[in-house]
Symmetry: C2
Subunit: 242 residues, 2 copies
């Protein structure tokens, strides 16, 4: 029996354009920061029309592999944790995940993140955390925006201090998802700020003492506390975020 033919490659040309350029990026031929040839040039190279090239570019654009700089020219940019986090949290929102799923993840991930942070945070990072806390403390008590920002920024700095882009992206996507909704809660919970400040203080102390268990413990309490705010504010945790 003759060998069956291999299924032949049938993908739209715009997809091939996309994959070809992506390939060049991942194998390093197109370096980060380099700017893409003009559309006309790409047409010539691939032997397709501008419409087709442009459709391919839209795919790259959405993937975040190219961004337009000044003069509307595209240049290459490898996706960083911010991009991944933003894309992920957007997809989660569109996918209809619920508050409780997000909080569940927060409660699971962040205490461990704090544990790592206690071992790993540089002195400079700890100092930065202290500064974030101080500026939150200095803000007026009724400035809810500042409270939200301070709470999220504290999380953000811990995530960054772990020196791990994978974990950073994951924690950041969680931050993005809660950040928005936290606003409503804090405005309705008068004592929230004090409790946040206290948790942050204990966390910083644990980081300075390099006490991983203590850090994890306080982080768990902190998360739990924020979550309770949602219940007080009568947010239905089984509702989709968004």
């Amino acid at each position: 029996m003759t060998k069956a033919f291999q299924q032949l490659e049938r993908a739209p040309a715009y997809m091939k354009v996309y994959r070809a350029i992506e390939e060049r990026i991942s194998d390093g031929t197109l370096k980060d920061g380099a700017h893409l040839p003009t559309e006309a040039e790409l047409c010539a190279q691939f032997g397709v029309t501008r419409s087709t090239v442009r459709e391919g570019l839209r795919l790259l654009e959405q993937t975040g592999l190219i961004v337009r700089g000044a003069a509307k020219k595209f240049f290459i940019r490898r996706p960083n944790s911010n991009d991944i986090a933003a894309a992920a949290s957007k997809s989660f929102a569109l996918g209809g995940v619920t508050f409780s799923e997000v909080w569940d993840a927060l409660a699971t991930l962040y205490p461990e993140a704090a544990r790592l942070a206690a071992k790993r945070l540089s002195k400079a990072k700890v100092a930065e955390l202290k500064a974030v806390r101080a500026s939150l403390e200095a803000a007026k008590g009724d400035d809810h925006e500042a409270t939200v920002a301070g709470a999220v920024e504290f999380f953000q700095q811990i995530a960054k201090g772990l020196d791990n882009r994978v974990m950073l992206a994951m924690l950041q996507s969680l931050n993005l998802m809660i950040g928005e909704s936290l606003r409503h809660v804090i405005a309705g919970a008068p004592k929230a700020k004090d409790r946040i400040l206290n948790a942050q203080k204990k966390l910083v102390e644990a980081f300075e003492a390099r006490d991983a268990d203590l850090a994890a413990d306080w982080m768990a309490k902190h998360i739990d506390d924020l979550k309770r705010g949602y219940q007080v504010a009568k947010v239905d945790l089984d509702e989709p975020i968004l």
Copy 2:
């Protein structure tokens, strides 16, 4: 002084098309599974040409919000954990994250996942895990593909059993990143399969006993063991995956 004019909205039309449709999806006007109007119809509705509409569609396509079904028609699909995980791990790879970052995240997340699993896994899920393990045990010892598949599938089923789409997506993206490279390692480590089977056995026992600490403990050992395989195989953990 007259009030200054507000900066007027200037985004490319294809972007507006993208956002308009995305909006309709997220607000539920376009329900999951519904099929998009034809390109010609969209042209009419938006008052732009097909080229423009198509560029917008490419953005939606890459976001994963629309997929083409039979007859090449697009229909709406809210992104699920698989999509998010696949997109994230691809971006991580393109972003050049290293093995050690991935393993670091694995070692941090999975023990906690196991802890949750011990509390949360349904009896049916535990049975399924047992089945996965059994089929790995039944596979021939030199069938490295089966060993890799069995190891990854075990992780996968735990992640699914947590009943949390956020955590599922995160754990899945880790699975995707290690799965590929695990192949090389297992082929070079003769005793790997036995150790994997043993860890899986202990994990199942812990799940059945609902012993969270024990589950976390064995998961940590399991992950650590797999990681050691990389060092034995002399994989440079500071190299980018990919």
